[in-house]
Amino acid sequence: MADIEITEAADPGVSRRNFIKGVIAAGAAVGSANYMFRGAGSMFAQATTPGAVERLITITVNGQQRRVDIMRQETLATTLRYKLGLTGTKIGCDRSECGACTVLIDEVPHYACSILTHSVRGRSVRTIEGLAAEDGTLHPVQQAVVSEQGFQCAFCMSGYVMAAVGYLQDNPNPTRADLAHGLSGNLCRCADYNKILNTMEQAAENMRQA
């Protein structure tokens, strides 16, 4: 403690932490100078441009760290389905207009078709595959789907379930109207919305009891 104070008194412009950072940065500059002089100029430039992104990244999906090789323009839905094999997430419209691709990002529902995979680095993604417990016990919302037989073809189902999980975690006691509003970002082509709402009322009940 005492010597930090002395350092700061001696040079108020450079805190100890910044000084250490500076030393590390200088080291990095020396190290990367090797690259530069080997002729990989553009690589060097990219690595140091603030905000530049890398191809190989780690994302957290359903509690697991997954290392993936992705393109800049890749959407999360594409990565989940075609890189990670998590095909429970559906792609309906690919235009944020149907909700089939809904997943939770930090427990908040998002359309996976309309977010870049690069944007979920450092956040935690939950898909329909990540709902059931280790031992196979279904999530309360999933249980309601089974008990109420809420869906027909069920293409929209995983999106609805994820939207409902996100919504019910924040609003445990919704009215039917609240539920309709909370789940309004999902469409069902078979269009049995009444049955879906019955299911979700049951799901809310299940969650309250769980």
């Binding site: 800049r72 323009q73 998002h110 690069h118 309004s184």
Partner: protein
């Protein structure tokens, strides 16, 4: 336009962490660069291959642009604050309910979770001729496909058109205009502060842009003064479906009422012009009047004075008149 194609075309992506880095990247890449907030407007353009920037600067990592803070005179909302956070913020709920109501009616829950207040106010028009990638005026062409003898223009403008008849589609924009909000814009020459009403521009000034932002500029924050805190608010949006759909017409009204006298008023409407339209003539007429049916009636009539319908959007005139009227009529 739900044509599913394999992927968006490639672009270089940057995810800077500070406004300075973002601004530097935008300066460096100039017209090639695209600012991305929540991306919900942007991705449609990219997926449809209508706009093909080679560089995308994603502001998602710029934490300084997120969040809502109380200031000496009201609130400052970071441009990157998601609409859901705007809806849920207690201060906005209690004192600036107009904005809360407007934000709550945007698109769908998932879109509100990701779409930002900055993006919502900077979004491009929804004219489908333009969105389909035809080279109309707005795309630097020389024709408006939406105003021809055969156009489908049910959603288009009744005011403020100049060659292009597209409208501003934002729900939160008229609320900001009615609250006398100010936009904080970071330009190459430094920070500029402007009234929300001046942030939006019409085609007579620049037919290719909806806002005053030039390439390289950033909207950093929106300031809401306490002028209208706790006033009597009215927001109504009319749309075809109760979710996802953009406003055909929406109205945002703020009234200061004492007894039955209207002391001051702000009325703004969107979906009728290329910019959210503040109805100053209506406001002037309201000031000092009593809040009753006759005043509301007069306000409605005044609101649509000078409106010019296209072939298929004549209904917008009575719709706008009635919305303005309703927004002033005393609520039972």
């Amino acid at each position: 336009m739900a044509v599913i194609r394999d992927m968006m075309p490639a672009f270089e992506l940057f995810q800077p962490a500070t406004v300075e880095d973002a601004a530097a990247l935008l300066r460096e890449h100039g017209e090639q660069a695209w600012v991305m907030a929540g991306g919900l407007d942007s991705f449609d353009w990219f997926k449809d291959r209508v706009k093909r920037p080679s560089v995308v600067v994603d502001l998602g990592g710029v934490d300084a642009l997120k969040g809502i803070e109380s200031t000496a005179d009201g609130l400052e909302i970071g441009a990157m604050t998601p609409l859901t956070d705007v809806v849920r913020h207690p201060d906005i709920r209690e004192r600036y309910g107009l904005l809360q109501q407007a934000a709550e009616l945007v698109a769908s829950p998932q879109i509100r979770n990701q779409g930002t207040i900055g993006g919502n106010n900077s979004q491009d028009t929804r004219c489908w001729y333009y969105r389909d990638g035809w080279t109309c005026y707005r795309a630097d062409g020389n024709i408006c496909y939406a105003d021809t003898p055969t156009s489908m223009n049910r959603e288009h403008a009744i005011f403020g058109a100049d060659r292009c008849v597209a409208v501003n589609p934002s729900d939160t924009a008229p609320a900001l205009v009615a609250l006398d909000a100010q936009m904080v814009v970071q330009t190459a020459g430094g920070e500029r502060l402007m009234d929300a009403a001046d942030y939006f521009i019409g085609p007579s000034i620049d037919i290719t842009r909806m806002t005053i932002l030039e390439p390289g500029d950033l909207l950093t924050a929106i300031r809401i003064p306490s002028t209208w805190a706790g006033a009597t608010f009215y927001f109504e949006k009319v749309r075809d479906r109760q979710v996802w759909d953009f406003p055909l017409v929406n109205v945002a009204t703020a009234l200061r009422v004492s007894g039955s006298t209207i002391e001051d008023a702000r009325v703004a409407v969107n979906g009728v012009a290329p910019y959210p339209m503040r109805l100053t003539a209506v406001e002037d007429a309201l000031r000092g009047g009593s809040r009753d049916e006759a005043t509301a009636e007069r306000a409605g009539d005044l609101a649509v004075r000078g409106a010019r319908a296209l072939r298929h959007n004549g209904y917008k005139i009575p719709l706008m008149r009635n919305l303005v009227k309703r927004s002033i009529r005393a609520e039972a």
